[in-house]
Every structure is written in C-alpha cells, then in structure tokens.
Symmetry: C2
Subunit: 343 residues, 2 copies
Amino acid sequence: MVTRKEVAELAKVSEATVSRVFNGLGPMKPATKERVLEAAKVLGYHPNAIAQSFARRRSGNLGVVLPYMPKVHLFSAYYFAEILSGIGEQVREQGYDMLLSLLTPDDDLDYGRLYRSQKVDACVILGARDTESQRSSLLQLQEQGLPFCLVNQRFEGLSFLEVDADHVEGSYQAVRHLLDEGYRKIAFLNGSPHYTNSLDRRHGYQKAMLEAGLTMDPALLFEGNYSRTSGYEIAAKVWEIRDQVEAVFAANDRMAIGLMQGLRERGWIAGRDYAVIGCDDSDAAKLSDPPLSSIKVPFFEMGKGAARAVLASVGQGSSEVQLQVKLPTELKIRQSSKWIRQE
Amino acid sequence: MVTRKEVAELAKVSEATVSRVFNGLGPMKPATKERVLEAAKVLGYHPNAIAQSFARRRSGNLGVVLPYMPKVHLFSAYYFAEILSGIGEQVREQGYDMLLSLLTPDDDLDYGRLYRSQKVDACVILGARDTESQRSSLLQLQEQGLPFCLVNQRFEGLSFLEVDADHVEGSYQAVRHLLDEGYRKIAFLNGSPHYTNSLDRRHGYQKAMLEAGLTMDPALLFEGNYSRTSGYEIAAKVWEIRDQVEAVFAANDRMAIGLMQGLRERGWIAGRDYAVIGCDDSDAAKLSDPPLSSIKVPFFEMGKGAARAVLASVGQGSSEVQLQVKLPTELKIRQSSKWIRQE
DNA sequence: TTGTAAGCGTTATCAA
DNA sequence: TTGATAACGCTTACAA
C-alpha cells in the first residue's frame, strides 16, 4: 500500500503537508498542492481510512441496527429496503459509511457492543419494541452519551431521538374515508401493542369512530402479529360475525391481504362485499387483487431523517436537533375500499 | 474510554499481557489471566476495534455492494432481505461486520473505493450486470488481488468467485411442469440479457421446449425489465396473440404478477384460462391471486455462501475455495399453474 | 506557508 | 510465562 510518507518524499514536502492537501486544510501555495496531488496520482495513493479513523478517534461509520429476521413480521421487506435506502442516501452525503448489525433477540442487552468497540459513531435503531429490557438498554446507551435514533418506535416517558410517521393521523384519515364512503361497522385488525405503531393506529381508529358518533365495539377489535398468516387466520373470526362487519381497517398490508385471502375463500370479496384498508402502502398493496387501499408511510424519508438527526448530534455534543419528529402519511385509495357495499 | 494501559496498571501486568489475555494467545498463568479479566471488568474495558484494525491491518469488515435502489427492478426487496440475512449470519459467525455500500450507476468504476480506503477486507457484490465497464472494474479488482464474490451473476470467460443458483435447471423444471400438465403453447417473458440470470432461464426454457419436440417460436418470446409494470404492459401484447398462448413462464414473480393483472383486466384469469409460473418465490407469489407457482431460489444460502467463500479467501491468499458455486432451486406449485386449460 | 513531532491503542516481535 | 518496544498511517498542535 502506498502511504503518505512516499507521497511526501516524491513531492518533496513533509508528511503533514500531504495531509493538509488531502484534508483541504490551512493556507497553501497552489504549486505545493499541485505537486502533492501529482505525486499522489503517480503513486496511486489513497488515504487509509482505518488510520484516519484511528487518529481522528471517529470511525466514520453509522451503525444500523436491525432485528435479526429470518422471519420478519412487523417489517415487510419493502419497509426495510426503503429505510435502508434513506439512511444510505444521507450517510453518503456526509461521507459516512453504514455498518449493518443484525441483532438476535438474545442480543437485546448488547446494543452497546458496536459503540464500545468504537466501530460506529452513532446508530439508527430499527425494529425496537417497548419492552423492559430494551428500555433499560437504551437508557444505558443514553447515559453513556452514545448517540442513537429510533425509527418508527417511540418510548413514552423517555426522551430519545425518534423519527416516526404520524400513524394516528394516517389511521384517522383511513377510517374517516371508510366512514365517508358510508361504512359504519368498521372492524380493526391491529398488531402487537408492544409497538407504538399499533397504539397510534388504534388511537386514530378510535378518534374517527368516536367522532362519527360510533362506539368502539370490542367484538370488532382483532389482534394479529403483522404477518399475512395471522390476517388469514383472523378471517375465520371475522367471518363468524360477518353480519356486524362492513369494513376492516388493518394495521399493515400483509395482514390485510391475508384477511382478504381468507375471506375470499368464503366467498367474500374485498371491494364488493366489504371494504379494506391496510397500512404501509407496500408493493404488495399494488400486487393484491383487488389492489389494496393503504396508508403510505414515508419510510425513505424517515430513514434519511434519522440518519441526519443522529449524525448531527455526533458533530456537536447535543445541538439544535429536534428530538421527536413525525412525518406525514398519505392515504392511497384503491379498489379494496372504493365502492360502497352493495346491499 | 478505558484503555489497555489502565487495565495493565490495575492488574499489575504489562500491556502486552492484557492483549494476550484478550486474544487468547500464548501460554499464561491462570492467576494472571484472572487478574487481568477482573481488572478489565472493574474498569469496564473493551478493546478499541479501530485500534485493533489499525494494528492488524485488517478492518474486520465485509463490504456488501448494492446497486443504489430507489427503483429496484431485477431484485425484489425480498431478494435483498434474504441475501443480506444470509451474509449477516455468516459474517457474525466469523466475527466480522458488514459495511453496506450503495452504488449509484456513476460509481460503476468505483468498486475499488472501499478497498483502497481499506475499510473492508473483502466484498460481496450484489446486482452486478454484465457490461463492459463492470467487467473492467471487476478485472481491475482482481488484478489488485482484492477479494470479492459475486452473487447471482456470472461473467463468462472470466474466473471470478461466484455464487449462483441453478437457474437453467430451475427454468427447465418449470417448463417441464407446464408441459406435463398438457400445455404446449408456452410463452416466455424474460428480463434483460445483461443478467446471466435471464440467459440461464432462457436456456432452461429452450431445453425443455426442444426436448418436448417443440420449437422456440419467436412470437412467444417477450422481454420486460423485471418490473411489475413491464409485465402489465406486455399483457397487451400477449393478449393480441392469445390464441397462440396457453401458458406463460416469466423470469420473475413481479412480471408474472403484472402480466396476470393485465390479462385479468381482459377477462383472462390465471389458473383458469391459462397457466403462469414465475421465478423467485417471493412473498408476492403467495400474496397474489391466484397464488403464483414459482421457482424458489435459495437467496439466504447464496448470501451466506458468498460471504463464507470470500472471507475464506481473505484468510489464506487464495485457497481451496470453489470458484463457481450453483445452488439448487425448487419448483413451488400453486394455483396459477395447477389446472389444465379448460377448453 | 510549511515542517516537526507527539500522540492515538493496539499487535507482534524479540528478549528475558 | 511475561515485559519492552517498535511499528501501524494518520491528525493536529506548535514551531518556524
């Protein structure tokens, strides 16, 4: 490997000068700079990033922490790809790299590993859940002054850096839309309450229902685990009380699609016999039959925002970064919810 | 940050001894080890990974190179999630970390950046295409002795480390299945020939057709770009020659689903009026209506295998690693191809 | 405007 | 079985 030293020799300057050229520091005679650049080019010199990190005491890496996911549930692959792209874009703009870390459930308490080893300067944490162990791990990180940002998950009572979407408003809009279309008996298929996501969606549902003068009928509340299969299974339960159901709002697309499949087997077709709206506006929403109305969540922007926020907090102790951010969602109407039920 | 020095002082040993304990090197009096470990624990010492990399002249990072993908075509998000998980599993087993790098098309020639900066010891390259510029970039890497492994893409005539699936055999099986079901007029919807993937699938199709005594009718060959939309658009063309088509073999699920959507709008339903088989066995195959028969590709294992192969080649110059690997695929039959066309 | 030199926290070699 | 010590390639005062 070509080192700075060789460049310095060839250019007949000191090593420090080579560094200055490559870091664009200090005033500098153009001719000198010229000579250094020329020498570097001739020799094929490229600064050693590891050595730079070592000297700067910063890795130049942003950690991205994901739940280890042979079986992804909450997150569609789509979600994941979008967020990663968003983080990737921001990171690249700031000259950082992304270090991916897949955590198994056992690693819960080990959020700190990447930091302690100093392989990353900050982290974006995806797929966190509100459990005791995660709360305490995160608190510990915070106490140690290790910067991180959560995406799509909040922790009430704690003040972490969090980038989320406005799921309450999104769900409210979705249910409002169903109400506007004339549906009254609206069931809600939610996911685990360990995700603030689920809680928010429930709030939105509740708000719209109450506002319309309707009560929250417990019989119309179902809980799946965000998988297609769970939606499929719940179709059986919905079918049992089909005379009380005109529409379903599901907390993600996969469950919505599973539900549609299950009900179709019983002869109930979405967009004809009942309406459905999902959440995420994933690829699957466009692929399903009928196409699924869904709440579009700006995953890309959330990833990008999280990366920006947490990297900003690296630069300057704790700066003017807004702690909690909520990005707007958008309702995408497709056939699954378009037509009023035919009596 | 706690350093080795402080641990050494507390444990009353030299710094070298602390290193030995943490690296499990050399013979060592248990009592000494005990003392060092105790001291480290008391102080909360963790080796600085950057300093280690610096001293070892190895980063401990495996680079994963992805095409930058606001608009993914060839690869479903599913594909990425699976491969990344596979790489992640292997990497973790070997104590490596994954450094993700999203390359924009302009970066084509810049495969070397990560290496030159020495931030990674090896790379797994996803989503490569067989173009002149990529060929030369990769050749350059090879000449510089920088280890990399390609996934799901081969370069004929060059000997790179490559992990692929047996797409020829997979496609052959799929078309055989259609033939066995009694279909004769089988169209083929392929993707860009820049991917060996596409070429392989075409070979498999051809092999099965010829073997059955059928000719390759150019009128039955269509080319999309692996997107759902392209499949949807091609439905119009297929529709025009519908009397010559009984079944379609599509080179990925997304195009297959787009095609099904397009034909459905014209009253043609897959699994009733014609048969379809896709490739990848992505989530979408299970979500589509009717569920789509598809060729399952072992993406997870491919990722894992690629990581293992390329990391092996890091350890030991160039070792006994098998250069080209092809993993088997598996045909998943679902409703879209189950029934013989009703005359 | 440029050079000198002191770190940075390890690994690894050589002696003891 | 352990200790000294020279790298490693850079950043960054401080000096000139």
